[in-house]
C-alpha cells in the first residue's frame, strides 16, 4: 500500500521538482551537521595570488618562455606544463596593460586569459565543457525555430 501511494505521488511529474528540492535541502542539512570537513592542504595546481597583477587571480607567474613550476597529479603525462601560463590576444594584452583587473573578465571578451591548467593537464574537461554549452545552444535554437 505504501509503495502504491509513493508511486501515485511520483506519477504526477509536477511533484518531482519539490521532492528533489526537499532531498537537496535534507542532504545539505546533513552536511551542515557533519561539519567541519577537514581541508587537505596538499592540493594540486597550487599558485600564489599576486593582488598587484593585472591578471589576478589567473596569474600563475613565471617569466615569459621559461617553464613555471606546476604541481600536477601525473607530471610525466604533461611534460610541457608551465611553459605557457596565459594566452592573451593583442586586445587582451592592451586591456591588461591599461586596466587594473583583466583577470576578473576571463569570459567577458574573446581572447581573454585561459588558465593553462585547463588546456594542458586537464584538456579533456576543456573539450567536454564547451560541448555541453553547444548542446544547450543546439536545443535552444531548435526549440526557437520549431515555433516558426
Amino acid at each position: 500500500m505504501i509503495i502504491r501511494r509513493i508511486s501515485h505521488y511520483l506519477c504526477n511529474y509536477e511533484n518531482i521538482v519539490p521532492l528533489f528540492a526537499g532531498a537537496c535541502a535534507f542532504i545539505v542539512l546533513i552536511g551542515i551537521l557533519l561539519l567541519p570537513i577537514q581541508y587537505h592542504n596538499d592540493q594540486l595546481y597550487p599558485k600564489t595570488i599576486d593582488r598587484n597583477s593585472t591578471l589576478d587571480p589567473y596569474d600563475r607567474g613565471g617569466p615569459p618562455f621559461a617553464q613555471a613550476t606546476i604541481r600536477a597529479q601525473y607530471p610525466e603525462n604533461s611534460p610541457s606544463a608551465g611553459l605557457v601560463t596565459s594566452y592573451l590576444t593583442p586586445f587582451s594584452q592592451f586591456l591588461a596593460d591599461t586596466t587594473p583587473h583583466l583577470g576578473t573578465t576571463i569570459v567577458a571578451h574573446p581572447g581573454g586569459i585561459l588558465d593553462e591548467i585547463l588546456y594542458n593537464t586537464r584538456g579533456l574537461d576543456t573539450v567536454v565543457e564547451p560541448t555541453i554549452l553547444f548542446i544547450a545552444f543546439a536545443i535552444a535554437s531548435y526549440l526557437y525555430r520549431k515555433g516558426s
Partner: protein, 218 residues
C-alpha cells in the same frame, strides 16, 4: 587498486585525467556503444493511436527535422554515457553526467506535444538544480583529498572521502539521470520515436551503475 572494480586492462592518459578500462567499465562502455550504434542505424517507430469501441486508428507523423534532431541528441547522449563509463576523474565524470542530463532533455523537448514538453520542462528544472550537488560533490572531493583521480583514491593513501561528498555526488546523478523518477520518464515516453527515448533510460541506468563504483572509492 583493490577498490576499483577490477584491474584495468588499459589506461589511456589525457594529462592528469586517466581513462581506464576495467572489466566493469568496459562492460558498461560496450553497452552504451552498442545502443548508440543501434540509434545511429535505426529508424524511429511510428506510434499508432487506436480508438476504443471502433476500428479507427491514427499514425503519428514524425517530421524529418525532428527525427534528425532527436537522433543527434541520442547519439550525443550515447557518447556522453560512454565517456562517463570509462573516465577515471571525478570532475570529468560530473561533466559527462551533466551532458547526459542536458541531452536527455533535448531528446524529448523536440517533440510537438504540450504534455511531453511539460514533463521535459519539469525534468529540465531537476537536471538544472542537480548540477549544484553534482559539482559541489566534486569540489568537496578535491578539497578533502587533494586529488580527483579515481586511481589515486582507490590506492587508499589519501584521506577518506567525506560522506557528504559522496551523498552530493549520488544526489547529483539522481537528478541528472532521474533514476528513481521513472514515473516522470514514463510521461516523457509518450513521445514517439522508440530508440531515442529508450536512450534516456539506458543512459540514466548506466551513470547510476557507474556512480556506485565511484562512491566506493576512497
Amino acid at each position: 587498486m583493490s577498490n576499483l572494480a577490477g584491474i584495468p586492462y588499459y589506461v589511456l592518459e589525457f594529462g592528469d585525467e586517466l581513462v581506464y578500462f576495467t572489466p566493469y567499465t568496459i562492460t558498461l562502455f560496450l553497452l552504451a556503444l552498442t545502443f548508440t550504434i543501434f540509434v545511429l542505424v535505426s529508424r524511429p517507430e511510428r506510434q499508432v493511436d487506436i480508438a476504443f469501441g471502433g476500428d479507427a486508428y491514427t499514425t503519428k507523423e514524425i517530421t524529418i527535422s525532428e527525427m534528425r534532431f532527436r537522433r543527434f541528441m541520442a547519439i550525443a547522449c550515447g557518447l556522453a554515457s560512454m565517456g562517463a563509463m570509462v573516465t577515471g576523474d571525478i570532475f570529468n565524470f560530473t561533466l559527462f553526467t551533466a551532458m547526459v542530463g542536458i541531452t536527455n532533455v533535448g531528446i524529448v523537448a523536440a517533440v510537438k506535444s504540450p504534455h511531453v514538453q511539460n514533463a521535459a520542462f519539469q525534468y529540465g528544472l531537476v537536471a538544472l538544480t542537480a548540477t549544484v550537488p553534482l559539482f559541489g560533490g566534486a569540489a568537496v572531493y578535491a578539497a578533502a583529498t587533494g586529488s580527483l583521480s579515481m586511481i589515486e583514491l582507490a590506492k587508499g593513501t589519501l584521506p577518506a572521502v567525506p560522506f557528504v561528498a559522496k551523498a552530493f555526488l549520488v544526489l547529483g546523478v539522481i537528478g541528472e539521470g532521474m533514476a528513481p523518477f521513472y514515473a516522470a520518464k514514463a510521461e516523457m515516453f509518450r513521445a514517439p520515436g522508440a530508440p531515442y527515448v529508450i536512450m534516456c533510460s539506458l543512459s540514466s541506468l548506466l551513470i547510476f551503475l557507474r556512480v556506485i563504483e565511484v562512491v566506493m572509492l576512497g
